[in-house]
Symmetry: C2
Subunit: 226 residues, 2 copies
């Protein structure tokens, strides 16, 4: 069996498991979102900002993926919601099997929102469906406005681009209009929200986006391109 | 054949080809360096700064890898040195076969320095030997000081860490001492140079590091850990 055939087999097995997860999320009314970015773009920071805005009545849980360390789970656990770290031990992405294993013992009927923080990588996570209702790609303005063109798969597959670290705009050579145009070139229907996890700017817009989708519940993005 | 066995076979075939490349580089006195970072950390920018400091007598060439687009090759070609883009078409890293193919038609005897810019990814490129004398990892201060702990393989395998965008230090929550300690924790022998491709600060130290190794020629890092 050559490499391409084996990769197709792995992806097709992953798609099958992701389909089962998606069905479970829909049956239990859980909105699952898969957050993807480069290392250090701010995934954990936006999750901190999100969780701190919730009340104990919010039925939310978080899975956070990393190659090594459980630092992110420690950062997120202090808000009192269920958080589990998935340490991949070298693997460059989360897959559906890891998510299914990490859910063991959690009652999906007690949740209406599951946030998954993927491994920091703009490439490989784009290929692995986790059963999410939508992928969300985060881009930091420190990374440059060309990234949607250079890593098109993840921008094409994401419903929303969170453009983070806009507080750095005065200090970096980043063309905001060009970044928006590049994202739209790759994915005309992509939504965009500009935020700063440092200053809090735009976080209210993200929370509104999130809560609008929570009230719609799973399936809201059945018309997404992939 | 299961996935792990196949991955081992792919890596062992890559190691064989990389070994052949390394021998060719050594026979021709070519210092080959493999530059790795997250997307947008500044690999192309430091190559621009490096090439602009060379004279037409410098015998240098560049290979630059990307998933899509040949923007980087266009940025680098204007300095007049041989530059080739390797577009991986979705693959998240360069491998030895891609490098060997990209060298076709170039006379190694006309070079003493080959700079390879890998795909923007802190994970997968760490596993693929390209026949280089040394890997160099670049970290942007916008990414956070925890990255050596979270992506240990690439910091362990790199001879040098280039800490880029230090002009942003006043504007980002980045603990320089902790970043250094984290890198040393993962790889006690790692060298570190702090630079800003925007202001040019520290670029002279990098050029000195590079020129010292050029005068030593290949093999200088035979005692590197991997």
């Amino acid at each position: 069996m050559n490499r391409v055939v084996l990769e197709q087999k792995i992806l097709s097995e992953n798609d099958r498991m992701a389909g089962e997860l998606r069905q479970r999320f829909q049956e239990h009314g859980v909105l699952c979102l898969n957050l993807i970015s480069s290392p250090g773009a701010g995934k954990t920071s936006i999750l901190e900002r999100t969780l701190e805005g919730f009340t104990p009545l919010d039925r939310v849980a978080v899975l956070t993926g990393d190659i090594q360390t459980d630092n992110d789970a420690a950062r997120l656990a202090r808000f009192g919601f269920p958080v589990r770290q998935i340490t991949t031990g070298g693997t460059c992405h989360l897959d559906a099997r890891m998510v299914e294993a990490a859910l063991t013992g959690w009652r999906l009927e007690d949740l209406d929102l599951l946030l998954i923080e993927n491994v920091g990588n703009l490439v490989c996570p784009a290929s692995y469906d986790l059963g999410e209702a939508a992928k969300i790609v985060m881009l930091s303005v420190a990374e440059g406005e060309d990234k949607p063109l250079k890593y098109p798969a993840i921008f094409f597959k994401s419903a929303l681009m969170l453009l983070n670290k806009i507080d750095l705009l005065p200090h970096v050579p980043f063309d905001l209009a060009k970044a928006r145009a590049n994202a739209v070139h790759v994915h005309p229907q992509i939504e965009m929200i500009e935020i700063s996890c440092t200053t809090g700017e735009g976080v209210d817009l993200w929370c509104k986006w999130l809560n609008d989708r929570r009230s719609l519940r799973p399936g809201f993005l059945d018309s997404s391109p992939l």
